[in-house]
Amino acid sequence: MKKTALDFWVGLFVLCGFVALLFLALKAGNMSALSFQPTYQVKMRFDNIGGLKGGAAVKSSGVVVGRVDTITFDDKTFQALVTIDVDKKFQFPDDSSAKILTSGLLGEQYIGLEPGGSEQNLKSGDTIAMTQSAIVLENLISQFLYSKAADSGAASGASAAGAPAGGAGSAAGSTSGGASGSAGANHGAAFPGAAAAMGGSNAAASGAQ
Amino acid sequence: MPSVNSETVLELRDVAFGYGERLVLSGLNMRFKRGQVVAVMGGSGCGKTTVLKLIGALVKANAGQVLFGDDDIDTLDAKGVYRLRRKMGMLFQFGALFTDMSVFENVAFPLREHTNLPETLIRDLVLMKLNAVGLRGARDLLPSEISGGMSRRVALARAIALDPQIMMYDEPFAGLDPISLGITANLIKTFNQALGATSILVTHDVPESFAIADYVYFIANGGIAAEGTPDELRASKDPAVRQFIDAAPDGPFRFHYPGVPLDADFGLATTKEPR
C-alpha cells in the first residue's frame, strides 16, 4: 500500500472515531448545557430532599439555570445541606425560595428557584433561607387519610373516634350516623322541635350516605 | 576485539546442552577459523541446528563456553547480543522471508534497521546483493509469488546484506534440484571468499558440502564422533562415519526403530514343524 494512501485511510478512520465521539457527546449527551459556563455557588437546607441527586437540574420558570453540586447532611441542624452551581448569567434576589419539585408525575426531582422581591442579589456562598422540602409520597397518603377521617368525625359531633383508614370510610360514616341518631333521639325527648329538626338533618345525613 | 589467537574467530569449549535433564549434546569442542568453510554434519535430530542456535545466542548452553575471540557470550547482555548478531548472517532452512514485504524490502530490512544510509544508497546495495544471487529482476515480487528455491536465494541475499563475518547456513541444500544445488554451493563458496568470512554449514548432503568445505565436524550420539578435512573423513574407519559417507542403509544408524521383534508382531511359530 502506498504510503500516502495508507495515511489517508487511517486518518479517515481516526476522524470517523472523533466524529462518532462528538456526536455522542453533543447530540446524545447533555454537553451543550452548562458544562463550560462560569458559575457561582449557593447553599440551602431542606428537611427532606426526597430523591434529589447530584447533577440534578436547578430550574427557574422551567428553564435550567444551574446544577446541583453536592448534597450532605448537616448534623447540627439535622437537615440536608444542598449546594448548587448557578450560571453567572442569572442573578437572583437574596430572598428567593427553593423548592424540590418533580418533573412529571413520577419523574426525576429537581430544584425550582422562585425569585423574591429583594433589591440585593444572591452572592457566591450565600444561603437561601426559604425552602420547601420534597413531597414524600407516604406522608402525602397518610396526610390525606387523616384529613378525610377528621372531616367525617366533625360532621357526627360525638365520640366516634379515629376512623380506620381506607375503604372503612363509609362504614365509619354509617356508625357515626347511627350514633348521632340515638343521640338525637335522647335530645329529641327534651326538645321535641329540636329532635324533629335533628332527626330531619340526620335523615338527610344518612340519606346522603 | 583484539585477541591472542587471531585465526580462531569462534570456539565452542566443552559445551553441553539439553532440555530439562536430558542432554542432547555434551562435551562439544569446536573451532572455527577465519576464512574457513566448515560443515557440521550428522543424522537427523542429532542436534546440528542446535549448534547454530548456540552460536547465535538463541539458546543458552547448560555448560561450557561459546567464545567469540575472547568474549564469552554468556557475559553479554541483550544489547551486547544484538551487537554480536549484527556481525552474523543466518540462512534458515526455508528462507524465513517476511511474507508481508516484497523481495526488495526483505533484503533492505537489515540495512534500514541497522544503518542510516540514504534510500538511494540502500537501493543500490540491495540490487547488488540481489544481482549476486541472480534475482534482481524479482525485486518487486512477494514471497508468496516465488518458488522455494528462489526464496532461499533471496534469504541468502538478505543474510549477507550487512557483510557479516560469520555466515551460518541451516540445511542449505535440502530439497533442491541438481541445478540449484550447484548454484547454492557456488554462492556459499564465493561469498565466503568475497566477504573474508567464516561459513558454517549444517547439512547432511555429503557430496555438495565435501566439495566446498575446508573442515568437517561429524556429530553423533550427542557429541563429536569425528572431525577433519573431507579427505580425512572419507578415509575414516569409524563405523558411524562410514555408514554416513557410504550411504549404507544399516550400521550404527539403525534402520529399524527399536521395538518388539518381528516374530512377536506377526505371531510366527517359534517351534519348527515337522516337514
Binding site: M1, K3, L6, D7, W9, V10, F13, V14, C16, G17, V19, A20, L21, F23, L24, A25, K27, A28, G29, N30, M31, S32, S35, G55 | G56, L58, Y82, R83, R85, R86, M88, G89, M90, F92, Q93, F94, A96, L97, F98, T99, F109, P110, E113, H114, A155, R158
Partner: protein
C-alpha cells in the same frame, strides 16, 4: 500427584509472570507511535479500518433491535418517547464497548494470533532476532498500540451507529416524535459519566483483547494445529476477560 499439582501451579504462576512482563514491555514501548509511526498506522489499517464493516453493520442491527424491544416494553407504560434514552444509555454505557470488544476479539484478535503464530512457525521471528532486531519491538508492539487506538474508535462508531439505528426504527418506522426522542436522550445521557466511562471501558478492553491475541500468537506452537488452538484460545480468553472486566468496571464506575 501433589508434586504434579505443585508443578502445575508453579508453571502457571511463572507463565503469568512472563505474560505480565511482556505486557509491561509492550506498554513501555508506546513511544513507537512517535518514532515509527508508519509501523503503527499500517497496523491500524489492518486492525481498525478492516473491522469497520462488521462493527458498523452490527451496531446498526443492535440499534434496530434495541429500538424495537425498547418500544414494545416502554409502550406498556406509555413511555415510548424514552426509547431514545434507553437505546443511548444501553449502547454508550455497556453494549458499545462490550459488543464491539467481542466482535473485535473475533475478527481482529484471531487474525492477529494467526498472523503472529504463522510468523513464528515460518521462523520469521527467529530470523528477525538473528538480524539483531527485537521482534517484540518491530512486530508485536506496533500491533499492540494499533489495537489500543482502534478499539475506542470502533466502540464509539458502534454506539453512534446504534443510536442512529434506534432512531430509524423508533422515529421513522414506529412514529415516535423525533423531538422527544432526542430531548429525552439528551436529558438522561451525561457526557462525563456515561460517554466518558464508556470510552474508558473501550480503551481498557482494547488493551486487554489485543494483548491476549498477540500473546497467544507469540506463544503458539509453531505447527498448524498449534496456531489453530491459539486462535481458539484468543477468542475464549479475550471474550471472558472482556465480560469480567466489564462487570468490574461497571461496579466501579456506576456503583454509587
Amino acid at each position: 500427584m501433589i508434586t504434579a499439582l505443585g508443578r502445575h501451579v508453579r508453571s502457571g504462576i511463572s507463565r503469568t509472570g512472563y505474560a505480565t512482563r511482556m505486557l509491561l514491555r509492550l506498554i513501555s514501548m508506546f513511544g513507537l507511535m512517535v518514532t515509527r509511526p508508519r509501523l503503527v498506522t499500517r497496523q491500524i489499517m489492518f486492525i481498525g479500518n478492516y473491522s469497520l464493516l462488521i462493527i458498523g453493520v452490527s451496531g446498526l442491527f443492535v440499534g434496530f433491535v434495541l429500538g424495537l424491544q425498547g418500544y414494545y416494553t416502554l409502550s406498556r407504560y406509555g413511555s415510548e418517547a424514552s426509547v431514545g434514552l434507553l437505546v443511548a444509555l444501553s449502547l454508550v454505557r455497556e453494549l458499545g464497548p462490550v459488543v464491539a470488544a467481542l466482535l473485535f476479539a473475533g475478527r481482529a484478535g484471531t487474525s492477529l494470533t494467526a498472523e503472529i503464530g504463522l510468523m513464528k512457525a515460518g521462523e520469521q521471528l527467529m530470523a528477525m532476532e538473528m538480524m539483531a532486531v527485537d521482534p517484540v519491538r518491530f512486530v508485536i508492539a506496533p500491533r499492540f498500540w494499533a489495537g489500543a487506538i482502534s478499539m475506542p474508535i470502533l466502540a464509539a462508531i458502534f454506539s453512534a451507529v446504534g443510536i442512529f439505528g434506534g432512531y430509524i426504527v423508533g422515529v421513522l418506522l414506529l412514529g415516535i416524535d423525533s423531538g422527544s426522542f432526542w430531548s429525552q436522550m439528551q436529558g438522561g445521557v451525561d457526557v462525563a459519566r456515561d460517554v466518558g466511562n464508556g470510552v474508558i471501558k473501550s480503551i481498557i478492553f482494547g488493551l486487554a483483547v489485543t494483548f491476549i491475541a498477540l500473546y497467544q500468537g507469540y506463544e503458539a506452537s509453531p505447527t498448524p494445529e498449534g496456531v489453530s488452538r491459539a486462535t481458539t484460545r484468543t477468542v475464549v480468553y479475550a471474550s471472558l476477560t472482556v465480560l469480567g472486566l466489564d462487570f468490574l468496571l461497571t461496579a466501579l464506575m456506576f456503583g454509587n
